[in-house]
Structure formats: C-alpha cells, structure tokens
C-alpha cells in the first residue's frame, strides 16, 4: 500500500505540515520550527524508504514506481515517478533540509523577530516545490512546481538586510523570465509531440530529433532552467540574493535550490532526450559543458576577490554548480557519477559553510573576511574545526568526499577527450585552495593585534547549532571513506 502511494506522500506530507504550521502558529509561535523540522525529517525518511524500494525493484526488473493522480492513467493524467535518480535527489534535498531546519532553531531570535510561523510555512512550501519538481513525470507540472518553489524562495530571500527585498525583486524578474522561457519551450515540444508526459515524449523524440524546432525548444528550456541553476552567464541573481538574505534562508536555499534545477537539466538532457537526439542538429552538450567550464573559472576568480564571507560562498556556488552541469553535459557514466556525487557533496559542504557563517554573523555581527584572525580559533573552536573540514572537502583534498567527486569528473573529461575542461578542473581546484586557505591562514595563524589570542574567552554558539554543522562536516568524511560503493550505485543510474 505504502509502496504504490509513496510518490504522492512527499507532497501531501509537506502541504499538511505547511498548513499545520500556520494554524498552530496562531496560538503557539514556538511550534513552527519543530513542526517544519519534523516535516523535513519525515520526508527524508520517506525518501530513504523510496530509495530502498527502488533498489529492490531495479533488481527485480521494474525500474520505476509510477503514481497517476486522480486515477487517470498516464499519459492522459499527470503522474509522479519515483526512480533511482529522483530517489537520490529526494534523499539529498530532504536530508540536508532537515538538518538545516534543525540548526535554524538557534537563529530564530536574531532574524525572525515576530513571524516564525510565516517563515517556516514558506520554507516548507519551498521544499514542497522542490520535491514536486523532482518527482513529477510531466513537463507542465514541473513548471507549476518550479513556480511554487521560486515564489516561496523570493519571499524567503526578501527577509534579511535592508537591501534584501531589492535582491529578491531582481531574482523575481530574472526567475520569472526563466520560468516563462521554459514554458515556451514546453509549448514547442507539445506542438511537435502532442504529449507532455516525459516517458511518452521519450518514445517520440527519436522520430523528430532532426527538426530545427526541437533545437529551439531545447534552447528555451535550457536557458529557462539555466537561470534557476545559475548556469554561467545566467547567474546574475545569485550573489546578491545569498548575501543580503538572512542566514537561515541562505543556509536553506544555497545548498539545495540550484541542485534541483540541475536535476531538471539531467532529467531533460539525459533521460527525455539522450546524447544522440540532443546533438542531432547542433552540438548542444559541448556548448553547455564549455559554458559550465567558464562558470567554474569565473566563480572561483570572483570568490577570491570577495571581502564578505557570504558573498564569497555565493560565488563559489556558481563555480560548484558548474562542476555539476559540466559532469552532466559530458554524457559519460564516469562524469555523470561524479556530477551526482558532487550534488551530494556540495549540498553538504555549502550547508555546513553557510551554517558556520551564520554562527560568525550571530556572534560577531559581520562576516567580513578582513576581520578574521587567530582570536576566532579560540573563540569558536568547534565552528572553525567544522569550517576547516568543509573547506578541505571544497578544495578537493583526500580523504574528504569532495576529492572523489572531482576525481570522477576529471576522469570523465579524459574519457570524453575534453582536455580544456580537464585543465579547468585542475586549475579551479588551485583557485579554490587560494580562497579557502586564505581564510584558514587568517583564522589559525594571523596575529590578532595587541591581545594574545588565548586571552579571548570562548564565545561559541549553543550546542544545538554546533552539532548539526559538525554532523554534516563529519558526514563528508564518512562519504569520503565509503566513496567506492556510492560511486558504483551512482554510475548505474546513467541512462542507457
């Protein structure tokens, strides 16, 4: 019973939690955060169950659990599809979101003076939209869920500094243009195939792949989703949004928001189309790979130039999403596994780094990198240790998980014979090292002026905030050690 209805349960549980938060919030404002965390935790457990079910089914020969809404059989009705790829993304999104929401309890007093229920209802709706985008098997339904998650993220970003609504407004304009371009692309595909169902469309596309209209539709969809994924050069909204918003929203949106857009890219480029159909008219995958490579270098160089820690992390997000999209566009199993593993790693790393930056913002009032010195080592021993673990993984040093995803991506570029992109990966690791070692050097070695560093009293945040961040950082270490079985499973997800 649970197995057959599993795909629908994610969205149902999130929407009931969102309503419950608003209703309970009228009486007990403190109930919002635990409820939202429970909602994300339930979804994370469901996604784990989903993953186990999908693995069992794959062994038995049925690849996907399909759920048709309202009893209408697809392709007439809208359906949700739970297969290996969507189960993997659900685990990443809901797992990271649960930890971030748990961690956010300590920050409520600083950022959300009077309205925690509204904030957590919006956060839950944001997660609802992301879960819907991952699960849906219908291109138009994907647009609706895209807009649900986008509209909630505009509101989440607008809560923050004085300029936050302006950053959110710019994101709204760009994001809506992106969403609408995607919608036109879907319209073109519908006009040519007569269907919106992804599995149905997959069967029709080989017959029409030569037509120029397919290329136009693909370009429109890629540009539209590219805005959401911050594919270079469509990243314009991202740095301001992540910098100006409050630290709970940035820790929630930065790790998972762009990943789900990358998932849509994977779904459309690799599953609905596939390498031969995609490049039938024009070498589209090479173009995306080169753009992603440009994004990797641009993001890293800009990150080095930043003085604000949050803005630096935002630019590093642009470069990391480049790794993921490049791995997708290379279209071979090695790069694909590397890209998926990097989705997992980057979600964990970015969540950890944004959590630690929220600790510093909370205790110091600012996150200006120029102010960092060795008193931070004494004041925030746990937060800084956590930061160091995540930073090492970000640079890509073994045994952290970040090394193995970059290693697989590098192997993928060699397999595809793209020597330029191989060089991009290597040089970008060096650039990552420049900006993260710059911070670590300041924190562990730079003299803090007159006072001896050890004279500073410890000024750590509560354990309720230290523990989630540390847990995510240690998970990176664990995934680094057990990388071989994970990568093997991820390679098996490559569509044949």
């Amino acid at each position: 019973m649970i197995e057959a209805n599993l795909p629908a349960m994610f969205v149902v549980s999130y929407i009931s939690v969102a309503l419950l938060i608003v209703l309970a919030g009228v009486r007990v404002k403190q109930s919002a955060q635990p409820l939202a965390t429970m909602g994300a935790l339930v979804a994370a457990l469901l996604s784990f169950v989903g993953w186990v079910v999908v693995q069992a089914h794959t062994d038995a020969g049925f690849p996907a659990t399909r759920y048709g809404f309202g009893g209408w059989a697809p392709p007439i009705g809208i359906e949700f599809v739970l297969d290996g790829l969507s189960a993997f993304f659900l685990m990443v999104v809901n797992g990271v979101a649960a930890v971030v929401l748990w961690h956010s309890a300590g920050n409520i007093d600083k950022h959300l003076d009077a309205h925690p229920p509204t904030f957590y209802a919006l956060a839950t709706l944001f997660l609802l939209g992301l879960n819907g985008m991952i699960l849906t098997g219908d291109l138009f339904n994907l647009y609706v869920f895209l807009e649900i998650s986008s509209l909630s993220s505009y509101a989440l970003i607008a809560i923050g500094s004085r300029q936050a609504p302006l950053a959110a407004f710019r994101y709204l304009i760009l994001g809506t243009v992106g969403g609408t371009l995607y919608l036109i692309g879907v319209g073109f595909m519908y006009a040519m195939t007569g269907t919106l169902n992804m599995i149905d469309m997959m069967a029709i596309i080989p017959l029409i792949a030569q037509e120029p209209g397919v290329l136009v539709a693909l370009l429109l969809m890629i540009i539209g989703i590219g805005v959401k994924a911050a594919l270079f050069p469509l990243y314009g909204w991202l740095p301001e949004s992540y910098t100006q918003t409050n630290s709970i929203s940035s820790a929630l949106i930065a790790p998972i928001g762009t990943k789900v857009a990358a998932y849509v890219m994977i779904r459309i480029l690799l599953y609905v189309f596939g390498a031969t159909e995609l490049n039938a008219v024009w070498p589209l995958s090479d173009a995306i790979a080169l753009l992603a490579g440009a994004g990797i270098l641009f993001g890293s160089v800009m990150a080095i130039l930043q003085k604000n820690l949050k803005r630096m992390l935002a630019f590093s997000s642009i470069s990391q999403i480049g790794y993921i999209l490049m791995g997708v566009a290379l279209m071979n199993p090695l790069a694909f596994a590397g890209a998926l593993f990097h989705v997992l790693n980057h979600a964990l790393m970015k969540a950890t780094l944004f959590m630690v930056s929220s600790h510093l913002e909370r205790q110091e009032g600012s996150v200006d990198i120029r102010d960092f010195n060795d008193s931070y080592r004494v004041k925030y021993p746990w937060s800084m240790a956590t930061f160091t673990l995540a930073a090492i993984s970000m640079i890509g040093l073994p045994p952290m998980a970040g090394f193995f995803s970059k290693w697989m991506l590098a192997l993928g570029t060699i397999e595809a014979g793209h020597w330029i992109l191989f060089g991009v990966i290597l040089s970008s690791s060096l650039l990552n090292a420049v900006y993260f070692f710059g911070i670590l050097e300041k924190v562990y070695l730079r003299r803090s002026g007159q006072k001896e560093a050890s004279k500073h009293p410890m000024n750590e945040v509560s354990w309720g905030m230290r523990l989630p961040a540390l847990m995510l950082a240690l998970t990176l270490l664990v995934f680094g050690f057990i990388n071989a079985p994970i990568l093997e499973v991820l390679q098996s997800l490559f569509p044949t």
Binding site: A155, A158, R162, A168, T180, I184, G187
Partner: protein, 126 residues
C-alpha cells in the same frame, strides 16, 4: 506570404513578447518592470491559446452534430487548461512582486533604479 498568413498569430505574439522584455530590462522604474513582466507572460499565454485554436472548430464538449472522430471539429482543450494554471501562476507572481515593491518603498522611499542605486551606495559608505 503564405507562411505569414498561416502563422501571423505567432508573429504578433513574438512582438508582444519583445515589448514585455523591453519593459523588463530597459525601464528604470520597478513598477514598469512588473508591467513588462505581465505583458511577457500574457504573450506566452496567447502563444499557447493560438496553438490550440482551429478554424471552424467548436468547444470541446461532445456534440451529436460533430462526430467524435472528426478531430478538426473540436478545439484542443489541453493548452487552454494549462493556461488557466499559468494565469494563476502569473497572478501569484505579480502579487509577490508588488509585495516586494511595497517593502522596497517603505525602506528606500523610491522605486527608481538610479535613486535606489545611490541609496545603496550611501549605505555602504557608512
């Protein structure tokens, strides 16, 4: 000429789309940007509706005068229903956009891009 006559609806939608894009990216007032946004979305809605329309077709309700096998006799209902959803999404987007504009006005007392830019520059000087 033949292609234009059979496809003129698409040419007009494209023109409206360009008007919307122009408003969004070249107007300096934020309210005008939202107006451009809604024109852009309206163009896409018209595109879908013209995709579904048929010369001489009737509403997609089963009618004895037009046998169900005569596909050209009925309009395609699916794009219209899709656009109902898209209109709702558009309304919600504009709601959020105006909510943000109210917030920006309360904080900066202006909605002109250049004035906002100056206000932000002053903020960062402090």
């Amino acid at each position: 000429m033949e292609t234009f006559l059979s496809n003129y609806a698409y040419a007009f939608t494209l023109a409206i789309m360009c008007v919307g894009l122009y408003g969004m990216f070249f107007k300096r007032n934020l309210v005008k940007k939202v107006i451009g946004l809604s024109i852009f979305q309206a163009a896409v809605i018209m595109f879908f509706v013209s995709l579904a329309s048929k010369m001489g077709g009737t509403v997609p309700v089963k009618w004895d005068a037009v046998p169900i096998e005569m596909i050209d006799g009925y309009m395609n209902p699916l794009p219209h229903t899709l656009m109902l959803t898209a209109i709702v999404v558009g309304v919600a987007t504009q709601g959020v956009a105006f909510g943000l504009l109210v917030n920006i006005w309360n904080r900066f007392k202006t909605l002109e891009e250049d004035d906002l830019h100056n206000a932000i520059m002053e903020d960062s000087d402090d």
